[in-house]
């Protein structure tokens, strides 16, 4: 009889403990919702993409400057950063790197609060109003495309709009920022700041939906342009499926 009592109490205790542990574990999920949109909506009017013609790029970094001016960024935040890549022959060649706006963005799924999301037009954006600043996305991004506001960002002129994912100006201290493919410009039919600012006309904003790309001076048929020039995507092997295409040139080697 004593034995059955022990069994009963143990079972009771186990039940209570399981409930308590389960309750603690489940608590965060009560308010759970699918915070981040994980894929673009195919029915959207545009599906933005980007082309970098490395044959034309001379590494002048006007794109970086134009981008920083547009978004009032600190000098160390290079949302489009011109890397110097060493090729096999020992020479270095410039390679602008912006956010790849991956179809399968590694940064998006690691965010604990869903502050990184993909908008309907396929652009990866960060909501700096909800970002908790844990920087796991920076760890996950294989392209080093993300920057953190370690200090108070430089002052920006007063705008009518508050800082929002589509126009994060001014940047918010303690949150992550990155290239937004100038969605505030493309919405109104304007070019991204880097495309506008490139004197070599090496940068193209592209739309997968209308299969067109433009550097501001010429407009090309995107699919043909990519095929005929053997366009590649940076680190294809990672399975991130970037929306940024590179046209190799200068004979430089891209890291794979």
């Amino acid at each position: 009889m004593a034995k059955s009592r022990v069994a009963l109490t143990r079972r009771r205790f186990l039940t209570a403990l399981t409930l308590a542990a389960g309750g603690t574990a489940a608590a965060p999920f009560v308010g759970e919702r699918l915070v981040a949109a994980t894929s673009a909506a195919p029915e959207a009017k545009h599906q933005w993409a980007f082309v970098v013609d490395l044959r034309k790029c001379d590494g002048c970094e006007h794109c970086t400057k134009a981008c920083q001016d547009e978004h009032h960024l600190a000098k160390d935040q290079k949302w489009i950063n011109v890397y110097r890549i060493s090729s096999a022959d020992g020479e270095t060649h410039p390679m602008p790197r912006l956010c790849m706006h991956c179809e399968n963005p590694p940064c998006l799924k690691v965010c604990p609060v869903g502050a990184t999301f993909k908008n309907a037009e396929g652009v990866v954006l960060v909501n700096q109003q909800t970002c908790i600043g844990c920087r796991t996305c920076m760890a996950a991004c294989p392209y080093e495309a993300r920057y953190f506001n370690w200090q108070e960002p430089p002052p920006a002129p007063k705008t009518l709009m508050p800082s929002m994912p589509e126009f994060p100006v001014p940047q918010l201290k303690g949150t992550v920022g990155k290239c937004i493919l100038c969605v505030h410009n493309t919405q109104t039919g304007k070019l991204p700041a880097c495309v506008e600012g490139c004197p070599m006309e090496a940068l193209y904003i592209a739309d997968l939906k209308s299969d067109a790309a433009t550097n501001g001076r010429e407009t090309v048929k995107l699919s043909t342009f990519l095929r005929e020039n053997d366009a590649i995507r940076f680190r294809e092997e990672l399975g991130t499926r970037p929306r940024v295409y590179y046209i190799p040139g200068h004979g430089q080697k891209l890291i794979f």
Binding site: T9, V35, V110, I132, A140, P142, E144
Partner: protein, 451 residues
């Protein structure tokens, strides 16, 4: 032979309650010094809140560093405390009795210190409620959050349950004095009246929680490692990361138990109850984990170094022969080999040698955590210069503050609760006496255990 092994319950009670007596000047001087270090850390944190994480030494090519290493190190230490106690309970190791309370309390307080860094490392700590309000389940940080909170609950229960009979004893002692203290004990004692049924329930509960806490701690450390491993960065992209972290936690945790046990043994003159035996057995446990950790380190380096994947090579080189090599070899020597020798050699296997070994292990494992975080973060993924993480006075003050909080909380906790598990020690002494009656004297070896 049995007497020094299992002293009378009155003596145990007196010794375990020694810290509860009014403390001398030395106690309060140490407490004040530790509190000052904690306060300095608090001031540094307020400064960091206003100025941004940049003042802690972070940059875009050093986006994780000391706080992330601290998070892993402190929570790891906690695991050691919980596990030493749980394993020894489950295996019915009688020598555990005087050290379980210290281990369990250490597990709770170091966990709290570790959890603090989960907040401190955030750019926007005021938004942490979003982890509860709108978590994204695919994030390893959400897994961390759930695992650590569950583990916290378990460690608190694990500390509390065996405390109940001891609290009841205090309740009875303070009944005449009354006051707030008596009320606290009365509430926490949950009407413990030493009834057989209460004994049964307590035994069952403690066994269950001891069983649960082991896999739970494994889960916590695996999940912590995945916050790094799932990012796929060179140096972190490793399938052995989860068990590697678990062993690291155990190794540094057992070392911390040794330090805490030795410190309280010395400060409250508990030599009659906590003998060289306890410290030596813990030392052997640390030795086994030392070898295991070195083995894991070797395995990881061998496969990476043999394959020489172009992406991993720069990180590996920086660690073995490059800019981080001095720290890495310092760890291997100071955090691995020297402690090994100190515990192995009969000459140094005394209390001082074991404590020095444990201190080296804790310091070495902290350094190792920095070496796990920093080189991988500083290594350029595309091209260009290496980044770096240079700790500043802000991050160092906060780190020291959190580290000082652990001994401070332990000191204050044991002003209120017995430093040794009185009830359990009495029980074990009784068991041993019964065994002694049943067995011929020759069958009892020096440990007081049936051979």
């Amino acid at each position: 032979m049995l007497k020094p092994e299992f002293p009378s319950s009155d003596a145990v009670t007196a010794a375990a309650l020694r810290p509860l007596a009014p403390s001398g000047r030395r106690f309060w001087a140490l407490a004040a010094a530790l509190a000052a270090v904690v306060a300095a850390g608090g001031v540094a944190y307020v400064y960091q809140l206003f100025s941004g994480l940049g003042v802690a030494g972070y940059s875009d090519h050093g986006f994780w560093g000391i706080y992330e290493a601290n998070l892993v190190a402190f929570i790891g230490v906690s695991y050691g405390g919980a596990l030493v106690s749980a394993i020894l309970r489950l295996t019915q190791a009688r020598w555990r009795a005087p050290i379980t309370r210290l281990s369990e309390a250490m597990a709770v307080f170091s966990l709290l210190a570790g959890m603090l860094f989960a907040v401190i490392h955030l750019g926007r700590p005021e938004r942490i409620w979003r982890l509860v309000a709108s978590p994204q389940i695919s994030s390893p940080l959400v897994w961390d959050f759930v695992a650590v909170m569950t583990y916290l609950l378990a460690t608190v229960i694990f500390l509390y349950l065996p405390l109940i009979p001891d609290i009841a004893l205090l309740r009875d002692r303070f009944e005449r004095a009354g006051g707030l203290r008596f009320k606290l004990y009365r509430a926490l004692a949950l009407n413990w009246a030493d009834l057989p049924r209460q004994h049964q329930v307590l035994h069952a509960s403690v066994s269950v929680i001891a069983v649960i806490i082991i896999p739970l701690a494994v889960i916590v450390h695996s999940v912590l490692s995945w916050a790094f491993a799932v990012t796929g960065r060179p140096g972190w992209d490793s399938t052995i990361f989860a068990p590697y972290f678990v062993v690291a936690a155990l190794y540094s945790g057992v070392a911390t138990v040794i330090i805490v046990v030795a410190a309280f043994r010395w400060a409250y003159r508990l030599h009659d109850y906590i003998g060289l035996k306890q410290l030596r057995y813990l030392g052997y446990l640390m030795l086994a984990l030392d070898l295991l950790y070195l083995y894991f380190t070797f395995t990881e380096l061998l496969t990476e170094g043999y394959v020489m994947n172009a992406e991993v090579v720069p990180v590996l080189e920086s660690m073995l022969v490059g800019q981080y090599a001095p720290y890495f070899w310092l760890f291997i020597l100071g955090g691995g080999i020297v402690p090994l020798l100190l515990v192995c050699l009969p000459k140094t296997r005394g209390v001082p040698g074991i404590v020095v070994a444990a201190i080296l292990v804790v310091a070495g494992m902290w350094l190792k955590r920095l070496l796990i975080v920093v080189p991988t973060v500083a290594h350029p993924l595309i091209a260009g210069a290496w980044g770096s993480f240079q700790p500043t006075w802000v991050s160092m003050s906060i780190t020291l503050g959190a580290a000082a909080a652990i001994p401070l909380l332990l000191m204050l906790f044991f002003k209120l609760f017995p430093v040794m598990a009185i009830y359990e020690m009495g029980e074990i002494a009784e068991e041993a006496r019964q065994d002694a009656l049943r067995l011929p004297v020759t069958a009892i070896n020096q440990e007081g255990l049936p051979s």
